[in-house]
Each structure stands twice: as C-alpha cells, then as structure tokens.
C-alpha cells in the first residue's frame, strides 16, 4: 500500500509541474459554460420548462457535470499508458512487485486531486456570475448516494481509459480508438444534452450502458433529476459495470502481456 502512496505523491508532484495546463483548461471551462448558457438560454426563450426542467435546473446540471469532470474524468491516462507500452517503460513494472493497474490508479487519483482543485477554483470564480441559476436540491441522501456514485464513476472512467491505453500492445496508434470512444462517451454520458431529454425508449436503453454512469448518473443524483429509487437501482447497475470493467482491464492486461516483447538489456 505504501508504494502506491508514494506513486500518489509522485503523481501529485508531476501534475503540479503542469499546473498551467490545468489552469488553461479551467479558463476554457468558462467558455464551455458560456456556450451552454447561450445555447440553452436561447432554447428556453419563451418556454418555462423543457422536459419538465427549468433553465436554472439545466444550467445547474451542466455546471455539476463540468465540475465532476475535473474530479473524476480520465483526461489523458489512455495516452500515458500507451506511451509506457510504446516506449518500453512498461518493462520496469514487470520486473518489480507492482500492480500496474493500482500504480496507474494512484497516479490518476493524484492528477484528479490537482485538476479537482483547479475545478473548485474555477467554480468559485464562476459562482458569483451563475449564482442566480444554481438550483440544488436539499435532500441529504443525494450526498450519501452521490459520493459513492462519483467514486464508481471514477473507476469506470479510469478502467475504460486503461483498457484503451492497453490497446497499444496490439496497435501502434491508439488515438483513433480513444477519440472514437470519447465521442460515444460524450453523447451517451450526458455531456452534450441531459439524457433525460432523450425519448423515453432511448433513455431506457441508454441507462443500462456503462457510458450512462460516466457523467450523467452522479450529476443526476446531485442535481435532483432522478429520485431515490432510480438512484438506488442505478448504483447497483453502476457497481456491476465498475466490476466488469475492472475485470476486463485485468483480462486485457494479461492478454496484452502475451503480445509484449521487452527489448534491450
């Protein structure tokens, strides 16, 4: 456990070196929020509600989605893992009693602590501007269920990124796969439109996919878009997907190692 703690500390340090990148991302977070504000503001003109939600509720949803991404989103973990494999850096982990998944998860957690801090700073700056539009429910159960949902979302996001990174065992270039999956995740994760605005039949299919739990689900709990029963059911489905994806990551790792050739001496 101590070694993963050290990996976490090193991860913190190396991410702080690139603090300007997170800073730039935080600044552009405002632009992203501005797009949402302008687009949905225009869509709501003349409508009190869309899909039974007010403009404030929809804006709150997107603010929460953005902040969650800073805390639990996998940004470039897939790229880092693929670089480890491509450059042969993975070899050092094969010779030591270190679980590569746990090591990468430690580094991912450290990166999210740093980016999360920037996310909170960005939120604090944005709050005076958007305060009138933030409407959060006051049920305490939303915190108790929302936090584990966040943790499971982080595991799902990380595991998917990890699996895509491991594709470098087979393919020279994995960015195509990564961005392909990003497009699907962005849409089916609810980052483009709140998923409850989809036709009910589509929503009922999407809620059983892992992407649903990558952003929409915790955001829907925190912002009151879903009730207690739905949250409890969702948490069970989310735990199932987290388990499946961690198992898949282990499976892909083992299969990938069979393909791997460690060169050099």
């Amino acid at each position: 456990m101590l070694k993963y703690g050290q990996a976490f500390i090193i991860g913190l340090q190396s991410n702080l070196v690139y603090r300007w990148n997170f800073g730039v991302r935080s600044i552009f977070w405002f632009f992203h929020l501005a797009v949402v504000y302008i687009l949905w503001g225009a869509a709501y003109a003349g409508h009190a509600t869309i899909g039974s939600y007010t403009f404030a509720q929809t804006l709150t949803y997107f603010v929460v989605i953005f902040v969650l991404q800073f805390f639990i989103g996998a940004f470039n973990e897939d790229y880092q893992i693929s670089e480890d494999i491509r450059n042969g850096l993975i070899n050092q982990f094969l010779l030591k009693p270190i679980n590569y998944f746990a090591y990468r998860l430690s580094v991912f957690t450290a990166a999210r602590v740093v980016s999360g801090a920037f996310g909170v700073m960005a939120l604090l700056v944005a709050l005076p501007i958007f305060r009138g539009y933030i409407e959060l429910p006051h049920d305490s159960w939303r915190i108790y269920l929302g936090l584990p949902a966040m943790a499971l979302t982080a595991i799902i996001q990380f595991s998917i990124a990890y699996c895509f990174g491991l594709l470098a065992f087979w393919f020279l270039e994995i960015q195509g796969f990564v961005i392909l999956s990003m497009a699907v995740e962005t849409l089916l994760g609810g980052q483009v439109v709140p998923l409850d605005l989809l036709p009910p039949a589509v929503f009922n299919v999407v809620r059983f996919l892992p992407f649903f739990y990558q952003a929409y689900f915790p955001a829907a709990i925190f912002t009151g878009r879903q009730g207690l029963d739905f949250a409890l059911q969702g948490l069970a489905i989310q735990a199932f997907w987290a388990f499946i994806l961690v198992c898949l990551a282990e499976f892909v790792w083992k299969r990938g190692l069979r393909h791997h050739t460690a060169a050099g001496g």
Partner: protein, 265 residues
C-alpha cells in the same frame, strides 16, 4: 511568384506522401473517418434533441440550424484535413525538441510545421458536412445561385484561415508553458461558439464572441449567405477578421519561436 510556386511544390510533395501513407494504413484511415463521422453525428443528435422540445432557437428553425452546424463542421473538417496533424504535433515537438527537424527544413517554419500532413479522413468527412448543408437547404426549399455558392465557398475558406489561426495561437502556447498537451482542447471549446446562431448572443457575450473573437462570424456569415443571400456587412466583417487573426497568429508564433531552445543533445 517563384516563392509561391516553390511552396506549392513542397505542399504537393507533402500531400502526395500523406496520401500514400493513408492508403498504406487503411485501417487507421477507416477508424479516423469513423471518428470524424461520429462527431458530426453527435452534433446533429444534440440539435435534434433540443429541437424535439422547441420549434426554434434564437429564431432559427431546425434545418436553418443544421445549415449552421453543417457549415461549422465543414470548416472544421477542412482544418482537420489540411492542418490539424501538423499543428498538433508541433505542440508536442516543441516539448520534445523534435521541432529542430522543422526548423532545419527549407521553408518558413510555420508553413513547414502546419502543412506537413494531409489527413484524408477529415477531407472525406467534409463531404458529409457538405451533404448536411445541401440536405438542409433542400428541406428549406432553397436554390442558391452560382454566385451565392462561390461566395459561400470563399467565406468557408476565410473560416478555415480563422480556425487555423486560432489553433496556431493555442498550440504556440507550448513555447511558453512547455507542455501544450490538452491545450488543443481550448481550440475545440472556443469553436463550439461557431455552432450557435448570432441572434443568441446578447450584451457582453455579443461583444466578446461576435466582435472581439470571430468565432460566431466564422460560420454565421456563410450560413447567412445560403439562407438569406449576400450581405456586405458579413463579408467585410469576415475578411477583416481573417486578416487580423492570421496576422496575430503569425506574430504570436514568431515571438514564441524566439523562445524555443532545442532539446536535442
């Protein structure tokens, strides 16, 4: 004239190399073409979901909005096809020191860096974006004349130059912050505004995104040409923005270049 011919010759050589390379890695080409297609689909679905709840957004109907989105995607696909790979790699090469190779080439560093690769997948998907514009125009019963189409093409070209300039500026940050990894996302965030109708912008947002940053003009000007015919104001505004942004991008790139210290031994 002689210099122009020499640069055209260099570009044609790069284009030929890229085409040969693309046909060698056909699987890669297929994946990237799918990626691009999927992102266009994501945008169309987003518009579809919003319009399933409201008949107009800022006075724009569904098919008018699809012309705007299609035009925006068309500009972006051209940028992806002609310049993306070169500029994206420039950011990474500045960090690793591989930018030395660009500087050693017989031509202007910005030209050499940004025209190094032609991406066939982006160019292929420009056909899809174009088809979206044509389909929407037909749905609206529009029959633009030859001059309208020529002016539309010219405006799209201006848009590509503005997008190019924005991307060069974003990636030139690598000269100052060393790692531009993730900064390219800032370009995509900024260009999200180009999918919004001009009429949605009010107050400070109109000043910033319509007049200071030409992200709205870039797509609204050509879309308006198709929808409402020629407007001298749009044309002058777009030409002025194109000249100003391209000049600014060159200035920023050159001042960044002065800071570049080779990382090679």
């Amino acid at each position: 004239m002689k210099t122009l011919a020499r640069y055209l010759q260099i570009w044609l050589a790069s284009a030929r190399y890229s085409l040969v390379r693309a046909t060698m890695f056909r699987g890669d080409l297929f994946i990237w073409a799918t990626v691009e297609l999927l992102w266009i689909t994501v945008n169309v679905i987003m518009v579809g979901v919003i319009y399933s709840h409201t008949p107009t957004v800022a006075g724009w109907t569904l098919y008018q909005m699809l012309i705007l989105v299609g035009t925006s995607m068309l500009i972006q696909r051209f940028l992806m096809g002609f310049f993306w790979s070169g500029i994206f790699e420039m950011g990474r090469n500045v960090r690793s020191g591989l930018f030395d190779f660009t500087l050693a080439q017989p031509g202007d560093p910005l030209f050499m860096a940004s025209t190094r690769k032609l991406e066939l997948d982006g160019l292929l998907n420009s056909l899809v974006a174009g088809a979206l514009v044509v389909y929407s125009a037909r749905k609206l019963g529009l029959h633009p004349g030859f001059l309208d189409i020529a002016r539309y093409g010219f405006m799209v070209a201006c848009g590509v130059v503005i997008h190019y300039s924005a991307l060069v500026m974003a990636m030139s940050l690598a000269f100052w912050i060393t790692s531009a990894q993730g900064v390219e996302g800032s370009y995509f965030t900024l260009m999200e505004f180009s999918r919004l109708p001009r009429q949605a912008f009010n107050g400070i947002a109109a000043v910033v995104f319509v007049w200071i940053l030409p992200v709205v003009v870039v797509s609204n000007a050509p879309a308006n040409e198709i929808l409402h015919g020629y407007n001298a104001g749009w044309m002058i505004g777009l030409c002025a923005a194109t000249a100003a942004w391209f000049t600014l991008a060159v200035v920023i790139f050159r001042s960044g270049l002065k800071r570049y210290t080779s990382a090679s031994s």
